[in-house]
Amino acid sequence: MRKVLMGNHAVSYAVRLARADVVAAYPITPQTQIVEMLSEFCAEGSLDASFIKVESEHSAMAACIGAASAGARAFTATSSHGLLLMHEMLHWAAGARLPIVLVNVNRAVGPGWNVWTEQTDSLAQRDTGLIQIYCESNQEALDSVLQAFRLAETVRLPVMVVLDAFILSHTEEPVDVPSQEEVDAFLARYEPAWRLDPADPRAFNMLVPPEHYMELRLLIQKAMDDALHVAAEVDAEYGRHFGRSYGLVEAYRLDDAELALVTAGASSGTARVVIDELREQGVPAGLLRLRLFRPFPAEPVSHLLAGVRKVGVIDRNISFGQGGIFAAELKAALYHQPQRPQVFDFVAGLGGRDITPATVRGIVGYLLEHDAPPTGPLWWEVKA
């Protein structure tokens, strides 16, 4: 059934279709309508889940950890400061190998106080052990949440699906909502290999001394390595079921490109519009959209950018003292290539500053005029 839905509600529909057993959430700012609608689904009985209202996002993730430990399919959603408060528990969820699905609506961090979109909140969770998926549309948000449960439960790692504040979260557009029968055929009931069960007592999350700790960490790294091909398989199978798949990264008009933009999230759509314009003008430009950030798809990224001369990364985030986070990851992935493109790092659109076609045209103009990037990131469209 196709409906006009905002990104937040596309996520709510996906969580209901996934038959989540537990939704734990802090209900106040910076929460979104994702869990508001889920609480209504629980109240009306259309979702048979325990909705646990908690006093903080830290507790929301703690409740999901408890629920997932007992074998439940658990979900939470948050944004900006809420995600940052959750940080300690994210490490725990990954370390305990629990397939929790979290949706984060990208919002800038204060002060100055700001509710608009920026990716720094989710990218700051880079080293927690969460798989991260960035969406370009509300349809992709719905589809990615369904894929996320399957992926999480296969590799036993939590997954964070990320969507831009307002630009997706509050924007209404047509979304194909699959039927429950179709989703049930794609996503079976969660059957954990082990669970917290008084009838079958086991020890969980014990003290692990130095002679064992590294091996457990290595298992997480291996699960992340597996997640690269499992994510691709889940996405392909999703395509067979629903006719939509996205890839780990997406190449757009990149085949013979000499110049490439790299984006993640909703600004990718605006970049596509500009790429089409440039192609009409005969400029050999293309786009690489990063969908998966962790594990980082280094191999497809370096393969797809191997023949490109210049790459402009549009980073709607900042690691102070370094630069754009996607650009740094990209440079690391390209390091072993014998022929590396020049990578330009454009920090743009922080705190919801609009990324318009003019913004993207300006970035392309800079790329056309410069052979090599300056040291450090280019802060784009900032007032003097």
Binding site: R2, V4, V115, W116, D164, A165, F166, I167, L168, H170, T171, E172, E173, P174, A266, S267, G269, T270, R272, V273, G352, D354, I355, T356, P357
Partner: protein, 182 residues
């Protein structure tokens, strides 16, 4: 692509209007995107909401700066904010007002239509008499003058999107459709 900007005050239903309009156009088989002004809203303060319409999927994901048409839910906004900023020449401005279109000293570059959506909303008991909810009524007027969407799709969209008093809202929509003056 056609872009529409809706000006209202918090509580008048500008955001719902943008969604009803988008849903109606979607029901007619076209692609749509609608969104509120990105930010924090307060009752009574100026708000804007936006709708994009196209014959193919909409990939553009930024705010609207040069709309094709405007909908003004509160005529006092015309003095308070520069409502026509960025409006393309030839664009329609559909205003909620009991006054005729000629009463508004707007540039001759634009086409102006008025409808007394407040009185219509009050007649159909939509919102309090002091702050009627005029969003559904004005869409009837907008559909009539622009021809961008049919009344039947709008009726269906109102029934789908508006949470309460669905039939009263449909009646207001139809009344404004018939009463609009340009």
């Amino acid at each position: 692509m056609i872009e529409i900007r809706i000006h209202g005050r918090g509580g008048q239903g500008a955001v719902i209007a943008s969604k009803v309009l988008a849903t109606a156009v979607f029901l007619e088989g076209r692609y749509v995107q609608s969104f509120p002004s990105f930010g924090v809203e307060r009752r009574g303060a100026p708000v804007t909401a936006y709708t994009r319409i196209d014959d193919r999927p909409i990939r553009l994901r930024c705010q609207i700066y040069e709309p094709d048409h405007l909908i003004i839910l509160d005529p006092t906004l015309i003095q308070a904010v520069d409502v026509t900023v960025g409006l393309k020449p030839g664009g329609w401005i559909v205003i909620n007002s009991s006054r005729p279109a000629q009463a508004f000293a707007l540039s001759e570059l634009f086409r102006v239509a008025t409808v007394d959506a407040s009185a219509i909303a009050v007649r159909h008991r939509l919102g309090p008499v002091t702050a009627p909810i005029v969003n559904t009524a004005i869409l009837g007027a907008f559909a009539r003058v622009t021809g961008l969407v049919g009344i039947e799709a709008l009726r269906e969209a109102v029934r789908d999107v508006v949470p309460v008093k669905k039939e009263a809202n449909v009646a207001a929509l139809e009344e404004a459709y018939n009463e609009v003056r340009s």
